[in-house]
């Protein structure tokens, strides 16, 4: 059976033009997807966890779904400060149950945002977000800047769907006319296709952004001959290219959000875009990673007023990344139970944080065994959103897209499992 206009649940580009062919409950062919998307669809069934598992002194053993849910409820209700982490690899409906659950439990809820584009959100809270949809970029942008991002490897269809290699409605010869500037600390594959590549010294983003802001303002006299490895001549040239563009689009990745200075780098980038808007039209978009990491920020914001790292311990929402974010809570041993949903913190968190994950009762709800499995007491497999579960996801520019289910592999969805756990918690708490 051929499924058209399938949405790819890999990265936050959420490409919605895939053609997927299924035969007898198996995916046999995928068209239009990138290598990452192809791999997700075609090898999905090879790695699935078939049933709930629990750790015993003699090793892993199978568990019934009923036992797994009972134990999860028991762990969460018995905790003084449970942490509910992950959420970026599932649909908005499940995320919404997670936020409700955190509130009823008096726990802390955080998503992978805190280790990717959390700093972007902190910067946006300080100085706003001059953003637009990817459709605007595709049809209007004659200058694209990728700063600390490498879309050819991390978001492989970003350039062909929205920027460098696509036609634009308001551009005559988009493929030839669109200029690309890449800024990075190493010559990436994306840098190879850039019209101008800025090789910056590690940790030098803030200084270079400040220098560009001053140059765009016409105050270049105090800028030294080189700034973080970038010559003043190149900075002047880049500033001129940006000012002369009819519509510029600035994309930034974790190369700038997770380096020294973090959200201040992004704030500086936003203020550069603000400065450029005195000369032309310029916008800024974060290159979000997980396909629905933006979705968690949307869901959490409309439910709590805050986008991530929300602490409900006192019955009301408190937000302070650095204090209420998952890495900090785990590393400081401030939680006594953890529910991991649709992510793999053990593969990405620092050692101290992961160690604590193994010291407290941890339950994981995820379709696949992963690094975090080794630190869990229990894992419950679920359907994969975009393959055998449907739901709402948000693209990197904040556009909601309905992700389809293309076959039924017999797994419960995140919404089913979390819904049942939440029902049981409410029952116990008499809410």
């Amino acid at each position: 059976m051929l499924h058209e206009d399938v949405v790819c649940p890999f990265c936050a580009c959420l490409c919605d033009d895939l053609k997927v062919e299924t035969d007898n409950g198996t995916i046999v062919k995928v068209d239009n997807a990138c290598d990452l998307g192809n791999h997700k669809f075609l090898t999905d069934d090879d790695h699935r966890l078939k049933e709930p598992i629990r750790r015993t002194p003699s090793g892993w053993t199978s568990a019934t779904l009923q036992h797994a849910i009972d134990r999860t409820v028991e762990i969460l209700l018995g905790a003084d400060r449970p942490l509910l982490y992950g959420w970026s690899g599932t649909h908005g409906e499940a995320q919404s149950i997670g936020v409700h659950m955190a509130e009823v439990l008096g726990g802390v809820i955080d998503s992978t945002t805190s280790v990717c584009h959390g700093p972007s959100i902190l910067a946006i809270q300080e100085v706003g977000h001059p953003g637009c949809t990817l459709g605007q970029v595709k049809n209007r942008a004659d200058l694209v800047v990728y700063w600390g991002a490498n879309p050819i490897e991390a978001h492989p269809r970003h350039m062909s769907r929205y920027t460098t290699y696509t036609d634009g409605f308001f551009l005559d010869r988009a493929f030839k006319e669109r200029k690309v500037i890449v800024v990075d600390i190493r010559r990436t594959q994306t840098a190879e296709v850039a019209d101008e590549f800025i090789l910056i010294k590690k940790g030098g983003d803030y200084a270079v952004l400040s220098a560009l802001r001053a140059i765009v303002r016409g105050k270049s006299d105090m800028i030294p001959a080189t700034v973080a490895g970038v010559t003043k001549e190149q900075l002047l040239r880049i500033a001129e290219m940006c000012k002369k563009a009819k519509f510029g689009a600035f994309f930034f990745g974790m190369g700038i959000t997770q380096t020294q200075g973090k959200y201040k780098n992004i704030r500086n980038a936003i203020e550069l875009v603000d400065e450029l808007n005195r000369h032309t039209k310029f916008t800024l978009t974060p290159m979000r990673g997980h396909y629905n990491v933006y979705g968690f920020n949307e869901v959490c914001t409309w439910m709590t007023g805050y986008p991530y790292a929300v602490d409900f311990c006192r019955g009301m929402a408190f937000y302070n990344p650095g204090e209420t974010s998952a890495v900090d809570i785990l590393a400081r041993k401030e939680c006594d139970a953890c529910l991991v949903v649709a992510s793999d913190p053990a593969a990405h968190f620092p050692k101290d944080a992961v160690r604590h994950l193994g010291e407290i009762p941890t339950v994981q709800i995820d379709p696949y065994p992963n690094t975090t499995t080794a630190f869990c007491e229990l894992q419950i497999p679920v359907a994969v959103t975009g393959i055998d579960a449907q739901g709402t996801s948000y693209r990197m520019d904040g556009v909601p897209i309905r992700v389809k289910s293309i076959l039924n592999r017999g797994y419960p969805t995140d919404t089913d499992i979390l819904g049942e756990i939440y029902r049981r918690i409410k029952e116990a708490k008499r809410v």
Partner: protein, 261 residues
């Protein structure tokens, strides 16, 4: 004058944060009042006496006459001295996050180290930390446009990153080294760092900063104005104005600096 000694009891899980904004002198003027005070340990509200042993010495008629002395492991006690208006708090060991939040008056003395957000958005009074202060000492809260607005903060040891972020008034003195982006977004007040720091006063719009040590990764958008001799010790310092990238009119005195070449 009353001295109230709060001795922390051993806890089953000593890592769980204790939210203790009730620990301000005004709550201990009347000796009956502490019975009604509560703290949050994780998601459970507990009576203060479940967490600390209270001993009172003397009597008081106003908060100015009250001194709270915290003993034992208070490293996870958060918000101690929040909105404090008068009196004195002495912390004999380390203290948790947000100590002296939005403080308006009185004095807090910490003999150990202070965790992040010490004296956050302070308005008045004095905070003295004899050890080190972690990140965001004397800074603002997420998304706020103003940080510390008045009073004095003195750290005898080192301070972490983003110290005095959004400083708008009052004075912050760090006797040791300070971290990255010290004084970032500063809009007023005085910042004095006796040791080294990096990217000091980035994006500042006002106020005055002094660095008597080395500034690493000096922000390139400060305009050199002159060389000046500062203080009774006659230290020769370079005077900058900026941050020009932010149309800033702050003044920065630096002894030694190095650009990120």
């Amino acid at each position: 004058m009353v001295r109230v000694i709060l001795d922390v009891k051993p806890r089953k899980n000593p890592f769980l944060p204790v939210e203790a904004e009730c620990l301000v002198p005004k709550n201990f003027v009347d000796e009956r009042e502490p019975r009604d005070l509560s703290v949050w340990v994780g998601n459970k509200e507990r009576r203060l006496e479940e967490v600390v042993t209270l001993t009172r010495e003397g009597t008081a008629t106003s908060p100015e006459d009250v001194e709270l002395v915290l003993r034992g492991d208070t490293s996870r006690f958060k918000r101690v001295g929040e909105y404090m208006e008068a009196g004195r708090i002495t912390i004999e060991g380390d203290i948790g996050m947000h100590c002296g939040n939005l403080m308006k008056g009185g004095m807090i003395v910490i003999h150990g180290n202070a965790d992040s957000w010490l004296a956050r958005e302070m308005v008045g009074g004095t905070v003295r930390c004899n050890g080190d202060a972690h990140h965001y000492c004397a800074s603002g809260y997420r998304g706020e446009k103003r940080g510390m607005r008045g009073g004095e903060v003195e750290v005898m040891g080192n301070a972490g990153d983003f110290t005095a972020e959004y400083l708008t008034g009052g004075s912050v003195t760090i006797h040791g080294n300070s971290g990255d982006l010290t004084g970032v977004e500063m809009a007023g007040g005085t910042l004095i760092v006796h040791g080294d720091c990096s990217r000091v006063c980035a994006n500042m719009t006002g106020g005055t900063g002094y660095v008597y040590g080395m500034v690493h990764h000096m922000i390139p958008t400060f305009r050199f104005r002159e060389t000046a001799i500062i203080g009774p010790e006659k230290v020769k310092m370079s005077v900058f104005e900026g941050d020009i990238a932010n149309r800033g009119k702050g003044t920065l005195f630096i002894k030694v600096y190095k650009y990120p070449l």
